[in-house]
Symmetry: C2
Subunit: 100 residues, 2 copies
DNA sequence: ATAATAACTTACATAAAGTAAGTAACTATA
DNA sequence: TATAGTTACTTACTTTATGTAAGTTATTAT
């Protein structure tokens, strides 16, 4: 091995290349969403969605807010770090329109 | 399920969010590379690299060229479709510099 | 004849993701 | 009071994906 790739870039890739991460972020660009809403619009299993949201929260990309209503409402949204991924998502959008 | 995500976008994501795909494309932006060179610079196993390169070839993102020298030389490079991913890779680079 | 090299492939083990059922906390309905 | 409904999970179990290490093919060098 003679890794010549920037560790920051690799770290970013390791986050973004996890299954479902991109779609979760893309969905949240449209505004805050609830667990079940993400689950159904993306088509990810609850088990993995739960895991991914925790990871993204730990990375400071997603924010979790609890509203103690009945039944409880929990909203997920993007932090500034998450919103900073918008240009990237737009590039994927453009590329997919031109080449897929 | 009420999928509201553009199928082209989803398809693009399913390619790009596969483990190692991003790093392979990123490395090939620097020019054609051989199998063993990709293997060592990225740190992916040969088994999976082989699988990925086939997938990317099938998607028309990567081109495989055989040079019948001794020992044989095989070079992988990006097609136009692959090169079109450069802005995206630059965005990931930028984001990682600012936020990681 | 043996070893070396590149580019894979195969067999087997471990890690990640999917599926379906279960839980907690509360409310609405019978 | 009991039953069922709702949201946001978690748990146990199965299937798929990836890693590891050894083997294969074709060719040249020693």
């Amino acid at each position: 091995m003679d890794k010549s790739i920037c560790p920051r870039f690799e770290k970013a890739m390791s986050i973004l290349s996890q299954r479902w991460t991109g779609l979760i972020i893309y969905q949240l660009l449209g505004g805050p969403q609830r667990f079940c809403s993400l689950e159904s619009s993306i088509g990810v299993s609850g088990r993995v969605l739960s895991e991914r949201l925790k990871d993204l929260e730990n990375e400071g990309i997603v924010k979790r807010e609890v509203f103690p209503e009945t039944p409880v409402r929990i909203e997920y949204s993007l932090t500034d770090k998450g919103v900073a991924l918008e240009p990237l998502m737009r590039d994927i959008e453009n590329w997919s329109q031109n080449w897929i």
